[in-house]
């Protein structure tokens, strides 16, 4: 049986496990034996999803030595001969993948957002040229397919039915680590709305009730943004303003709450895949750009939808 490996990012193991969907799309349900490589941390959240999890205990201060981590994954590969290695396109993963690809002397496709496996050939789709083009790419090497994949693009919805075997490795590392952590700052919220996958944005229809938006942004892992109206009213900072005099954003999903959608605001929406607008006026210009228009009060919508999402989440992974 084919074997497939997923690298679990140490910042987000649970989310990395969603990349099992990539393997499912290539080999079908149960079409491959699934492996995970983890470097420390709790594995409870991913138990039941993989056949084998390999946990490598890294010494203190070595967390950012991706060449070292890649060398352990290579050792695992030499033993198991994986047909497919999927790595999350995170800060760590985007370093790990190219290093490992060189070690395995194989091709690598970055930032994959779609994948198909037909007639034994795996096709990977990734955005190129600033998202203007989508490129369909194949690996020339027929023995192994390697890619880094965008976490938000794949959701694994299968049940935790596997009997996960956990294998512990304690590598012997001698001498001074070549890359050593000196200081680690706290996670900062220096977020930029231009990097957001999902934006929850408020306008004149929410005004001083703007803080309520966080209630919906949080379960969606979204960032909050606003229209110029709120910035001019002193409610929100300019750094989160969408529009001609603010920022141009390209989230996959834009939830427009009480936003009218002036031309200047819409100017700031570039390559947005889906817009959901909530407005008491179904004829507001933003509505004609939307996939879904919810006619009604924005704050009421936030409360209802965030409750719904939380409820459904409790049932899942």
């Amino acid at each position: 049986m084919r074997k497939a490996l997923i690298y679990l990012d140490s910042q987000d193991r649970k989310q990395s496990a969603q990349l099992l969907e990539v393997i499912r799309r290539i080999y079908g349900d149960g079409g491959a034996k699934t492996y995970a490589a983890a470097f420390g941390g709790n594995l409870e959240a991913i138990k039941g999803f993989f056949d084998e999890v390999h946990q490598f205990q890294m010494p203190d201060g070595c967390a950012y030595d991706m060449r070292l981590k890649a060398s352990y994954i290579k050792q695992l590969h030499d033993k198991e001969s994986f047909s497919c290695i999927v790595i999350p396109a995170t800060f760590e993963g985007r370093m790990m993948a190219p290093i490992l690809a060189v070690k395995l002397q194989t091709g690598l496709v970055a930032d994959v957002t779609e994948v198909t496996g037909e007639d034994g050939s795996v096709r990977m789709v990734r955005p190129a040229f600033d998202g203007k083009l989508m490129a369909v790419i194949e690996n020339e090497d027929s023995d192994i397919v390697m890619m880094s994949a965008r976490l938000s693009a794949f959701q694994y919805k299968q049940a935790r039915i596997r009997d996960t075997k956990i294998v512990y490795h304690t590598p012997d590392i001698e001498g001074e680590p070549p890359i050593k952590v000196i200081a680690e700052g706290r996670k900062q919220s220096t977020e930029d709305i231009r990097d957001a996958e999902i934006l929850v944005s408020g306008g004149g229809g929410v005004m001083e009730r703007f803080p309520s938006l966080h209630q919906l942004a949080e379960p969606l892992h979204a960032m909050v943004a606003s229209s110029r109206r709120l910035v001019d009213s002193g409610i929100t900072p300019r750094s989160i303003q969408v529009g001609q005099s603010g920022k141009t954003v390209s989230p996959r999903l834009y939830i427009a709450l009480g936003i009218y959608g002036s031309l200047q605001h819409i100017e700031g929406l570039d390559h947005v895949e889906d817009i959901i607008s909530v407005n008491i006026n179904r004829n507001a210009p933003i509505c004609s750009l939307s996939s879904i228009v919810v006619e009604g009060d924005a704050i009421e919508f936030i409360e209802k939808l965030s409750t719904k999402i939380k409820k459904e989440k409790e049932k899942q992974l």
């Binding site: 910042q11 950012y64 060449r67 890649a70 800060f91 760590e92 985007r94 370093m95 993948a97 190219p98 290093i99 060189v102 194989t106 091709g107 690598l108 496709v109 970055a110 930032d111 955005p127 190129a128 040229f129 600033d130 998202g131 203007k132 083009l133 989508m134 490129a135 369909v136 790419i137 690996n139 001074e176 070549p178 890359i179 050593k180 952590v181 000196i182 200081a183 680690e184 700052g185 919220s189 220096t190 977020e191 969606l220 996959r252 999903l253 889906d274 817009i275 909530v278 179904r282 509505c287 004609s288 750009l289 939307s290 996939s291 879904i292 228009v293 919810v294 919508f301 939808l305 999402i309």
Partner: protein
Amino acid sequence: MKESLKLVCLVKMVPDMEHFTYDYEKNILVREHAKSVLNPADACALAAALKLKKSCGAEVAVISMGPGSVSKYLEDLIRRGADEAVLITDSMYRGSDTYATARILARTIERCGYDIIFAGTHSMDGDTAHIPCQTAELLGVNVMSNVRKVREDKLSDTHIQVEVAADGQNVELEMRWPAVLAVSSESKYKLPFVRYEDLNKDVSDHITVITNSELEFREDEAGLSGSKTKVIKTYPKKYAARQKVIVGNDDDGIEYVYQFLKEKGYV
């Protein structure tokens, strides 16, 4: 400490996104016709290298791969403070994927000699962020991406300190060099201006052109045939005509929105 450190900076000219042309038949980018700009992250990387040069008296060599027309841009970088530039150009290298490109770069860097290698983390066109890591691995040296700051005050004869933006977290690291430092375009580094008196300075003798007769790759090791990945096709990103659905703010409406979010993978 060594007499003089050898700093190498990898740079790439990228098509101005508004005007690039793409050969849809061959599935390669036609750079000859595209208006080029210096990749923003590479500009930061070179600026960081020049800053380190200033504080420790290093030599800075810029290396770029591309068509002959890149030469004039490299001249500009020399006028801005780089000591020399190497242009790798050979029609055999056209269409190289990141693996093939990294091999070409690594072999060139070995020829030039190096202590610390700078590069931009991402390029604007390919945006794979592979090259710095692949090159480092081929050279067998340390690498770090998303470098925001190089602490030139903390340079020792074995180590260098850097500040890195790691998924929203600021991390300070000490790295043994030789190393590849991939600088983020979000860093604050800015290229210095050309001094007025240097505007038309002839710097052409600071540029070396390298082709495959020096690097000696086999034909199946470079270009399209040396690449391990192949672009099958490309298509413009499509925008489906929006068929808006109007729902109420009630249980049915919320259910509809939730199912939509789920189907699209937003929740």
